[in-house]
């Protein structure tokens, strides 16, 4: 039932257009054959005899009014015949529609476009009365896979498609191909709503679809392609790694990464311009103090599970082990190194005092050895392999070490035998201060207190090449802190003691800051504790396809640590999210996986490529109907003007006036605050009043507050930006520090929702000034109305405010500005 009249214009109900042919006939009948006159019985008939019509008005309805009305009628007929502009290429009416929808995580950014296109296609299918076969490409769980796709009516497809959403895992073309091939005996017209990425098996699927019939493939603009985010805490900071489909780099686009805290607040964001030329690693700069609060990083503006990177415990508080007996020491605590280390690190890290063997077994991210020189071979081996796997070993010098430096293992630089006492009777020197940290040092930027001196240290062997190894040095250039990577880990050596006996360092704030930086450098070694690898972790929180966290459903299976470490693929069984059990949380992120994101460029023969949003149907019906309505109003206006000039009977005039009134009223429907208004109100101080619906009172309020604003600007430091009239039912109150509420007799009590809003406003420090407008006790009806309004609010009883109070002063200002109150009764304040 589709007849094409114009290029790009079709009518869904073309038969109705034949009614247009009736219009000239109607014209003819109206002009040539007027209706039979009514018979009116009138006793005063005698007086009608011989009356001649006056020549002051035309004898017929003017032809142009008739033409206008016929035009209105024609437009209505046209609208009812369902004109559709730009109909899509059109589906053939004999073959079922096969709709392939990409719904992996990478479809999230284009999901809206996909849904619109799908709706559009289903609408066409409905018109053409052909069944629809829906196929989704995301991997499905085993039970779902057993449901074969089936043909359904267009209406059913429309409701089914509402239930489809992007899944938080990858698209799986390979498993879809056999299912397509199984259907090869049937003929379909296929439409593929792709996410613009050539996932693995793309060509195979395209060929399978195109085997019998042509395929149209929709793809999004390159800006809308999905991105996967990976975050790594490295020595240099928070490294941002983006997996981008656009590997050709033809389209540089800005990418904003947000750091999100536990409560969903954005703690920081940074925008990167990714392009082909810039392959340098990207870093997320953020204060160290905030970094610990980040629970996830996400890409702003790019929805999708791949754009969300959840942080698990390996990113959180560092677990630091101190190889010292802890508190159970015989010595006085204030001279013990472990005491200072504990006090410095306790607020920022999980601390444990234990033997080296136990600490390495716990897989701490940082181990501190205060003044330890020799250790048993087994411990040494454990320590070495731990550092090799990524641990950060921080050593402090001390009297013990100073005497046993020969072949000392696991130090960044060789040391010289014996300590160097800088301040002694024999040396004649003075205790030295610390040099400013060089910009390359991870400690750069820390402020060095002036009164800190180092009295004694262990010297590095000057024969050694020191470039890049010195993180801090004394004034004379001797290294104070040296470091060296070791395997995946890091060795750091502080050439003085962790106790106050060799230096003032442990007594200073610098010590704390320094240790925090060092702790932040450490990261959990990749290897996990033995014995935990096989522990199965239950899903705690999973992401949906758009990257929104949600509760895991029953289909999500537990996962083991080793599986995650082994890079298990996300899928229906293991969506990305947080998995864990008490004491252990591990994140499964899409971004850490090797995703094959290849931009879709070439398609096999037989596949037609189009972009989304190019062929939306556009129904003209509403516009034509609107035009007809406007013309009808015009007709009314013309008729009413004629009626006024021709003194037509009063009744008709009244109706006309009424209709015009309704028309004008519809033009001036109450305007509510738009988001822009809210933005405006939030940005500056606005005096607000409640619109009562009584025009006089409202304009009085507005003018009064305007004057008050002027008075405030000229007399006080407050400079209101303007006056805002607010509708208590629909507008936000939060932006106004003070709201003026004239209470009228006719005002309706606020709805429960509005009452809640008022209550919230009052509970959070808002002030409402109710005005009875004639002084208390004089306007009984308004008082009762005020009771009605405030009766439902949980506020302490009102009491008269003292005259010295700000409100009273304000009120006096107000009276002056309004100048219309005979006997003022003061504002009220809330009883304390």
């Amino acid at each position: 039932m589709m007849g094409s009249l114009l290029n790009g214009l079709i009518f869904t109900q073309p038969l109705l257009l034949f009614a247009l042919a009736g219009l000239p006939v109607l014209w003819f009948l109206l002009r040539v054959m007027p209706p039979r006159p009514r018979v009116i019985v009138l006793p005063s008939l005698r007086f009608l005899e011989g009356l001649l019509p006056e020549k002051t008005s035309p004898s017929h309805t003017p032809w142009w009014i008739l033409l206008l009305r016929l035009l209105i009628l024609a437009l209505v007929i046209l609208a009812l015949s369902g004109p559709v502009m730009n109909p899509s290429a059109g589906l053939e009416s004999d073959k079922p529609l096969r709709l392939v929808i990409d719904n992996g995580w990478s479809a999230a950014p284009v999901w809206d476009a996909q849904l619109r296109e799908a709706d559009n296609l289903i609408a066409q299918a409905e018109r053409a009365n052909i069944p629809v076969l829906l196929l989704t490409t995301a991997a499905v769980s085993a039970p779902e896979a057993q449901d074969p796709p089936r043909l359904m009516a267009a209406a059913e497809a429309r409701s089914t498609i509402k239930g489809i959403a992007p899944r938080p895992w990858d698209t799986d073309y390979l498993s879809l191909i056999p299912r397509i091939e199984a259907m090869s005996d049937q003929e379909f017209q296929s439409v593929w709503l792709s996410d613009g990425i050539a996932h693995r098996g793309f060509d195979g699927l395209a060929k399978a679809l195109a085997a019998k019939r042509s395929v149209s493939l929709f793809h999004p603009a390159p800006e809308a392609l999905a991105l996967a985010l990976n975050i790594r805490h490295s020595l240099s900071g928070v490294e941002v790694i983006l997996q981008d489909a656009d590997e050709s780099g033809s389209l540089p686009r800005p990418v904003t990464v947000q750091a999100v805290g536990e409560d969903g607040r954005v703690l920081g964001f940074q925008t990167y311009n990714i392009s082909e030329d810039n392959k340098a690693p990207l870093f997320f700069e953020m204060p160290e103090a905030l970094r610990g609060n980040v629970t996830q990083y996400r890409l702003a503006g790019t929805p999708g599970a791949g754009g969300v990177f959840l942080l698990d415990e390996s990113f959180k508080r560092r677990s630091v082990g101190i190889a010292a007996p802890g508190e159970k020491s015989d010595r006085a605590p204030l001279v013990e190194a472990s005491y200072y280390l504990r006090r410095a690190l306790e607020p920022y890290a999980d601390l444990a005092f234990d033997t080296v063997e136990a600490l390495t077994a716990q897989n701490r991210s940082m181990i501190i050895l205060p003044d330890v020189a020799a250790m048993p071979l087994s411990e040494l081996n454990a320590l070495e392999s731990w550092v090799d796997k990524g641990g950060l070993l921080l050593r402090f010098a001390g009297p013990v070490m100073a005497d046993n430096v020969n072949n000392l293992p696991l130090v960044p630089v060789p040391l010289r035998q014996g300590g160097r006492a800088l301040e002694g009777s024999l040396t004649g020197g003075e205790a030295l201060k610390i040099q400013e940290f060089s910009p390359e040092s991870p400690l750069a930027g820390l402020e060095i207190p002036k009164d800190i001196v180092i009295r004694q240290q262990v010297l590095a062997d000057p024969a050694e090449d020191m470039t890049g190894k010195v993180w801090a040095a004394l004034e004379d250039g001797t290294p104070l802190i040296t470091a060296k990577p070791y395997g995946k880990g890091l060795l750091v050596m502080v050439h003085t003691s962790a106790g106050p006996d060799w230096s003032d360092l442990p007594l200073s704030g610098l010590f704390v800051e320094m240790l925090r930086r060092l702790a932040a450098l450490s990261h959990a070694p990749t290897g996990h504790e033995t014995g935990q690898a096989a522990v199965s972790l239950d899903p705690i929180m999973v992401l949906d396809g758009f990257g929104v966290p949600r509760k895991p459903d029953a289909g999500v299976k537990p996962i083991t640590v080793s599986e995650i470490a082994g890079g298990i693929k996300t899928g229906p069984d293991h969506p990305p999210g947080l998995y864990g059990r008490s004491g252990l949380q591990v994140a499964l992120n899409l971004g850490t996986q090797k995703l094959s994101l290849k931009i879709l460029t070439d398609v096999p023969a037989g596949v037609r490529k189009t972009s989304y949003g190019q062929s939306y149907e556009f129904s003209l019906m509403p516009f034509i109907l609107t035009l007809a309505a406007v013309l009808a109003l015009l007709d009314w206006l013309v008729m009413s003007v004629l009626a006024l000039t021709l003194r037509w009977p009063a009744r008709g005039r009244k109706i006309t006036v009424m209709v015009i009134g309704v028309f004008l009223m519809s033009l001036s429907t109450p305007v509510h605050a738009t988001p822009e208004d809210d933005l405006k109100h939030a940005g500056a101080l606005y005096l607000a009043y409640i619109k009562t619906g009584d025009g006089t009172v409202d304009s009085q309020s507005g003018r009064g507050l305007g004057n008050l604003a002027k008075a405030l600007s000229s007399r006080t430091s407050a400079e209101p930006a303007g006056v805002a009239g607010i509708d208590i039912e629909s507008d936000a109150l939060a932006f106004f520090p003070w709201i003026f509420w004239p209470v009228t007799e006719t005002q309706k009590p606020p709805s429960p929702a509005a009452l809640q809003k008022i209550q919230f406003y009052l509970d959070h420090g808002g002030t409402i000034l109710f005005d009875l407008r004639y002084g208390a006790g004089q306007n009984i009806a308004a008082s009762q109305n005020l009771q009605k309004i405030t009766g439902a609010l949980n506020i302490p009883p009102l009491q008269p405010s003292p005259k010295t109070m700000f409100l009273a002063a304000l009120f006096i200002c107000w009276i002056f500005s309004r100048g219309c109150i005979q006997r003022a009764s003061y504002g009220w304040k809330r009883a304390p």
Binding site: P37, R38, I40, L42, P43, S44, L45, F47, L52, P53
Partner: protein, 296 residues
Amino acid sequence: MPALLDMIRGRAERAAAGLPGLVMRAEKIAASITHGEHSKRRAGAGEKFWQFRAYDPSDRPQDIDWKQSAKTQHVFVREKEWQNPQKVMFWCAGAAGMDYSSDPATPTKHETALVMSLALAILMTRAGEQVAALGAKRSGRSELAIRALAEHIVEEGEAHDLPDPAALSMNAGLVMAGDFLSNLDYIRACFDVMDGRTRQGIIIQILDPAEIDLPFEGRALFRAPGLGEHDPVKIDHIGEIRRQYQERITEHCRALEELCRQYGWLYFFHRTDHDLAELTAAIWDSAAQHTGKGVA
């Protein structure tokens, strides 16, 4: 023309069936008007008590009010108010045009005329005057007379635009209610004859709003009610002749009023969609003043 007679008979019977209701309405209107206005407000031959007065030798002894005299030392005469009973004859136009109402909500002209006549009749009987339908033989001032009047108007009423002047008794008052849409010359001829016979005439012209305003639109074929001596009139655009029509009918009413003024009769105008009681009260009021003045 038996058919015509049958038609009129049927109409009369229908009206008579509603007569008690009409009488009730008339009584209600009459009750709402404070009566006694018709009194002469001076002592004289009447039935109502006027005042006690000290006995004068010129008074007749039988006028002495012994009861009042016994209360005091003086002899009192009971004076009665001077009233002059008179005969008032009522006529309602009964032509087919009277049985017309443009809107079901408003009463017909005939009904309005009847109710107003009855209301005035009731008021007049209360004031001690005798009422009768024009052309009826009996007159009286009782409830029965009212009934007889109503029945006469409804049943014996003739399908005429104007009354028969010969039926008017000498020196009787005359109340005429009708639309008086006839040619003014006919009306004048009729009134000329009656003027010699009546002491006082009251003309109540009753018109339907549609007859005054012509509130129709478009094309219409106008037809006179009844069997009609008039040919139908076709109007193409009523709106265009409305003003002329209104001028014509207003002119006619003005001429009628002028005619009444010439005879010294009272002229009243009533639209059927206006309040009946109000006009009745006005008529009663000015009629009483008029007669009072006339006699004094």
